[in-house]
């Protein structure tokens, strides 16, 4: 099992989410974060003052995957989050020791599979087939 943490552009989140769902990764946690990477500083003007905004808004997505899902997950993120410009973000992968589902007490891989994973994945693939972004 691996914890996969990715930092992406806020405007790529719909595409990343759809790609993850299509790959069968349906359990994800999102947070808004601010960070500093290689991007140029952004300037804002308020009356006579130009402010340098050093930190950029990003979205952090965290998910824990069983081993067979790790590579599909990475491919899904790379294919959906990339624009080619500086600031596309990162993917971090760490090992996970234990997973326990609170509701049932299931552990590890059994705890990782969302109960509606298949349905969510099917819907995402269908939506993509129809040209939509689910």
């Amino acid at each position: 099992m691996k914890l996969i943490t990715t930092i992406v552009r806020p405007d790529r989140v719909p595409e990343v989410k759809a790609a993850l769902f299509r790959a069968g990764i349906t359990g994800i946690t999102l947070s808004r974060v601010s960070g500093h990477g290689g991007e140029h500083e952004r300037f804002e003007q308020y009356r006579g003052t130009a402010l340098v905004m050093e930190f950029h808004e990003k979205v952090k997505i965290e998910m824990v995957c069983s081993e067979p899902f790790v590579e599909p997950c990475v491919r899904a993120i790379l294919s959906s989050a990339r624009t080619g410009e500086v600031g596309d973000g990162k993917i971090f992968i760490q090992p996970i020791e234990r997973v326990i589902r609170i509701r049932t007490g299931e552990v590890d891989n059994a705890a990782l599979t969302a109960v509606n994973a298949d349905a969510v994945q099917r819907a995402a693939i269908n939506a993509a087939g129809m040209g939509g972004v689910a």
Binding site: Q45, Y46, G48, L51, T104, G105, V107
Partner: protein, 446 residues
């Protein structure tokens, strides 16, 4: 005088105008509140709101008498203390067609907003108690005499023929200069030019600017003290100048930074309103338009210069009210014409160059009186109860340190976690917590 001479239309308009000017102070609270950081939003808004209370009382008890009661050329008398002898009959000295109480309320709203304007220069660093004392002293020692000089019966600037239709000198120059002095006296905020300080809620700024524009029709058109052609002229000039200043400011923003900003549009329209205030009832609409353009251009330049200095006039009250007010007062001396208002005066362009001298005299006296007076009052506040907030209070934010409140609760995890166990808070609300028995952990399925 009998009540029979009261005009229903005039009285209705002045009463409505009074309510409009009251709304300006609320608008000012939003305008200033949106421009500061979240931790000082309530304090900044309270600096305006508290004026509605303390100056509302001060005006009724002593202010109106000091400004408008019969007295000498420097100060009104004491015969109208507590609105004593301020009845329901008209007073022909001020207006022959409305009850004198309507005049008292209308003028009271001006007395409320003027010191509140100053607060923009000293936000995010003044002790609130010190501010309230400053407010009362400033209204009594600076505003009331000034109002008497320019508008009170026998006032010395009135006798010299100074033209100030709705308060360019009394309200805007006096507040703007006092703001400059107060910003210098208190010193800059610790964070000024150290970390980026950005407006925390620009929609609030736009709401405030909109309310100011709306209320300003009462301020300027209401100053006709009658529902007549003069009120219509002041209304037209007010709207024209605000619109022209907004457009000018936007154009300057575009030329300098490549973008038209919302804060710039809000600032520009307010500056246009300030500029037209002394002139509203004396000039043609075409002159009103020019005054809006010039006030915006000069004030814009002043802000650019000010922001490069160490002087932390935080919300640029001097540039917006002082500079634009002086521009408006002097341009009144240029553009005034008796063709628009026979009871007014002629300016430079109408062949009366001497009017410029009178306007300049009014400006210089106002600057000197308000500036020195503010310095004295602040020094007094500083050595008695303290004017500048302590550094830990300033860094924690004045909402928390001065008021024990926060503008924005409910977004942090603390509100999810519920109240803590602050046992020493005697008056704190104790929320009984029910801890549900946890259900037995299910057997692991594996």
């Amino acid at each position: 005088m009998t009540q029979a001479t009261i005009s229903a239309g005039d009285t209705a308009w002045v009463l409505v105008s009074s309510a409009l000017v009251l709304l300006m102070t609320v608008g000012l609270a939003f305008f200033y509140g949106g421009l500061v950081r979240p931790k000082n939003a309530l304090n900044t808004m309270m600096m305006s709101v508290v004026a509605l209370g303390v100056i509302g009382v001060q005006w009724m008890l002593i202010g109106y008498s000091l400004a408008f009661a019969p007295g000498n050329s420097w100060l009104g008398g004491l015969s109208w203390l507590g609105f004593n002898n301020v009845g329901l009959d008209p007073n022909p000295t001020y207006s022959a067609t409305i009850p004198i109480q309507a005049h008292a309320m209308f003028q009271g709203m001006f007395a409320i907003i003027t010191p509140a304007l100053i607060s923009g220069a000293i936000v995010e660093r003044m002790r609130f108690r010190g501010y309230v004392v400053f407010l009362v002293l400033w209204a009594t020692l600076i505003y009331d005499p000034l109002a008497h000089w320019v508008w009170g019966s026998g006032g010395w600037l009135l006798k010299r023929g100074a033209l100030d239709f709705a308060g360019g000198t009394v309200v805007h120059i006096s507040a703007g200069v006092s703001a400059l002095v107060a910003a210098w006296f208190l010193g800059p905020r610790r964070d000024y030019r150290r970390v980026p300080i950005a407006p925390h809620n620009v929609p609030l700024v736009l709401l405030g600017a909109g309310l100011l524009w709306f209320g300003w029709f009462g301020f300027n058109a209401g100053s006709a003290l009658a529902a007549n052609g003069l009120a219509a002229l002041a209304f037209v000039n007010t709207n024209t100048a605000a619109a022209a200043a907004l457009v000018t400011w936007a154009a300057l923003d575009l030329a300098r930074t490549g973008k038209i900003t919302a804060v710039g549009a809000a600032t520009g329209l307010v500056v246009g309103l300030v500029g037209i205030t002394p002139a509203a009832g004396y000039v043609t609409p075409m002159s009103g338009l020019l005054i809006g353009v010039l006030a915006a251009a000069i004030s814009y330049t002043a802000i650019q210069i000010r922001s490069r200095t160490k002087l932390d006039d935080a919300l640029d009250v001097f540039s917006c009210h002082g500079i634009a007010g002086i521009t408006g007062a002097l341009l009144t001396g240029v553009f005034a014409t008796k063709l628009m208002n026979p009871a007014g005066g002629d300016g430079l362009l109408a062949g009366n160059a001497a009017q410029m001298g009178v306007q300049l005299l009014a400006v210089v006296t106002t600057v000197a009186f308000a500036g020195l007076g503010t310095l004295g009052i602040l020094a007094l506040v500083q050595v008695t109860i303290g004017a500048r907030a302590d550094l830990p209070d300033e860094t924690a934010g004045l909402d928390l340190s001065q008021h024990g409140e926060e503008a924005y609760l409910g977004t942090d995890l603390g509100s999810l976690a519920g109240p803590g166990g602050g046992g020493s808070l005697g008056g704190s609300v104790v929320v009984e917590s029910f801890i549900a028995e946890p259900t037995a952990a299910p057997e692991p399925a594996v």
